[in-house]
């Protein structure tokens, strides 16, 4: 088993819990009817995002999806900007114009959040191509789902990335479902990572609920990319413990699958690892308490913030002032 130093473990734990507490908060606000927006829950996938982002610097690029809260939070978008965006406020990262499916925050490398399945992969290649052209040493990580691995964009991007040896990491969060369709009903191969060899690419399969698998795999892929050794496809197996989006039908989930995901929940597992590494329960709880306080502040600010004015419709369509 790999060793992750304690500082890094705490870092990953903190990021993981930020993602989780943000998710819990969002669901509670939605449940109470305090907000009414599209939100794609990340319960069950927190660790994958957190450990992956922990392997990056602030300058590295990330492309994610509608289910990108994990990457966005773990990469460090300030909570108040993130919440304001999700609530459609002018103080949000995108002035309320992007919303939950289109969070962007270049200051922390969150370059694109796309709502179109698979479309992030070719764009990630482009970010990586710019880094290769520039020699700026950045690595690009693109996160996507198992369902996305069946769309053409995935294929084209994999081939091109390997051909040019781009500094990019393809992070497939295989939560075993694409919307309502189970993995075996949408994918003809046994795994997504098995496809890597068809591109001459390195493919790695990890248990996304095990920090000792996700983080080292990610770190190695990032190191290789940065060293000019080309792309890696990482498939992190995980579970989507909620419906496709908040409020969506979940009735199609087989009971065995539900039981399985409860057993494999990454959060108790991570807590166990932390305790094994001599973090005390009090320490860990304090981390969470701090996060909760931060989130509460951010939500309070976001709720109180101004809405964008109608003039925003004409701004940012093309450069320059509207006619």
């Amino acid at each position: 088993m790999s060793t992750i130093d304690r500082a890094r473990l705490l870092d990953i734990y903190t990021r993981t819990m930020k993602v989780n507490r943000t998710d819990e908060k969002f669901r509670s606000l939605l449940m109470q009817g305090k907000v009414a927006v599209m939100y794609y829950c990340v319960r069950g996938q927190e660790l994958v995002s957190a450990a992956a982002m922990a392997a990056l610097t602030d300058d590295d690029y990330v492309v994610c999806t509608y289910r990108g809260q994990g990457e966005q939070t773990a990469k460090g978008i300030p909570a108040e900007l993130w919440w304001a965006e999700c609530l459609g406020k002018v103080t949000g990262t995108c002035k309320g114009k992007g919303g939950t499916m289109h969070i962007t925050y270049p200051a922390k490398g969150i370059m694109v959040t796309t709502g179109v399945v698979g479309s992030g992969l070719p764009i990630a290649n482009g970010l990586a191509m710019a880094s290769q052209n520039n020699g700026d040493g950045k690595v690009t990580v693109v996160s996507f789902g198992d369902g996305a691995a069946n769309i053409g964009a995935f294929h084209e991007a994999m081939n091109m990335a390997q051909l040019y040896k781009l500094p990019v990491v393809f992070l497939c969060q295989n939560n075993r479902y694409g919307e309502h369709t189970a993995f075996a009903d949408h994918t003809s191969s046994e795994s997504i990572s098995a496809r890597a060899s068809g591109y001459g690419m390195r493919g790695v399969l990890v248990d996304g609920n095990d920090v000792h698998q996700v983080y080292p795999a990610m770190q190695e892929a990032v190191d290789r990319a940065r060293a000019g050794e080309g792309p890696t496809l990482i498939e992190a197996m995980c579970y989507r413990m909620m419906g496709h989006f908040f409020g969506a039908d979940f009735s199609y989930m087989p009971p065995e699958h539900l039981a399985e995901m409860q057993r494999e929940d990454p959060l108790p597992k991570l807590r166990k690892v932390m305790l094994e590494h001599q973090f005390s329960a009090e320490e860990l709880d304090a981390v969470v308490a701090g996060i909760d306080a931060e989130i509460d502040d951010a939500v309070t600010m976001a709720l109180a913030a101004d809405l964008p004015g109608a003039e925003e419709l004409a701004i940012d369509v093309l450069e320059g002032a509207p006619a």
Binding site: C94, G96, H102, G115, I151
Partner: protein, 328 residues
């Protein structure tokens, strides 16, 4: 028969067509029973009844979905392919435009593509920039396609049957916000012919030409203005392309004024074609220019307040009508 929603109307029309013709089958993401019968439940109950071969849940592969539908149609079947949301046609326009639309012509009539592509969209749901576009103008600009959209449940039922029976590809556009609209059920076997507009409300002062969800706005506005003594004729195109030019021209020749209305962005939208044709063919009847109302020329914004500002409003429609009538 009682009332049905537009969603139920679509479901029943597909159900009947599948019962009548073993060549009709559905394919698309999440459409079968195992997936809960589709994200918007339009195909709910059908795989149970007709089997998984006739209601195929697919991978997220729109090019493969439409391509498979094209191939099956070439072989004489009548596939109904679902593209979950209209913006995703961006990944499969090639199959629709370069293939489905052209194979009859390019084969010199040896083959044809009796295919329905169902898709939905809508502004006002809070889906943001990549899930709300109305792209009917793209399809209308392509020879070899029919483009239809219902504004009520009865038409949905009748148009869907006609679309499935059409021997050429039909882009069938649904609006998420309309799924719950109710009509008296026109019953099994009901058909609304392709290419025929409906006079949704008769009037004499101005022709308001629209389709889909904005028919509701048009009717509401016509009702409001009636009390001010303004008589608005509302034309529901139902088929956007090739559209019922005769019905449009007849209405405008009667009223002498026209306003086009759609949710899609105004520039280079379908309203432009209508306006251009009307002014050309009704020149001597027109009392003033054809006016157009459409969505704001920007991506659809996320924040509700902006999204609502983006959508063509009743106030805008009224303003244009009054301006046309010199009553502003």
């Amino acid at each position: 028969m009682g009332e049905i929603t537009l969603a139920q109307a679509l479901n029943r029309a597909i159900d009947e067509a599948m019962a009548d013709d073993p060549g009709v089958f559905c394919l698309g993401e999440d459409v079968a029973a195992k997936q809960g019968g589709g994200v918007f439940k339009i195909t709910s109950g059908l795989s149970e009844k007709y089997g998984e071969h006739r209601v195929r849940a697919t991978p997220i592969s729109e090019t493969a979905i439409v391509g498979a539908a094209v191939g099956a149609a070439l072989a004489g079947q009548r596939p109904i392919a679902e593209i979950m949301l209209m913006n995703f046609v961006g990944v499969c326009m090639d199959q629709i435009v370069n293939h489905a639309a052209k194979l009859r012509f390019m084969s010199g009539g040896q083959t044809n593509v009796p295919l329905v592509i169902r898709t939905t969209t809508g502004v006002g749901v809070g889906f943001g920039g990549q899930h709300s576009d109305m792209l009917e103008a793209w399809f209308a600009h392509v020879a070899g396609l029919h483009v239809v959209t219902p504004s009520n449940a009865a038409d949905a039922r009748g148009l869907m049957r006609s679309a499935i029976e059409c021997n050429d590809p039909v882009i069938f556009i649904e609006n998420i916000l309309c799924y719950g609209l109710k009509s008296e059920d026109p019953g099994p076997g009901y058909r609304v012919p392709m290419g025929k507009a409906a006079v949704a409300r008769e009037g004499s002062d101005i022709s308001l030409i629209t389709y889909g969800r904005t028919v509701l706005d048009a009717l509401a506005v016509a009702g409001e203005l009636a009390s001010e003594g303004i008589s608005v004729e509302v034309i529901d195109l139902r088929t956007i392309a090739p559209y019922d030019e005769a019905a449009v021209l007849a209405s405008v020749r009667k009223t002498g004024l026209a306003l086009t209305l759609h949710e899609a962005v105004r520039p280079f939208g379908t309203g432009a074609e209508l306006a251009a044709t009307i002014q050309e063919k009704c020149w001597d009847y027109l009392k003033g220019p054809v006016r157009r109302v459409g969505g704001t020329f920007s991506p659809v914004p996320f924040a509700t307040v902006l999204e609502q500002a983006w959508i063509p409003t009743k106030a805008q429609i009224i303003e244009q009508i009054k301006a046309a009538l010199g009553r502003s």
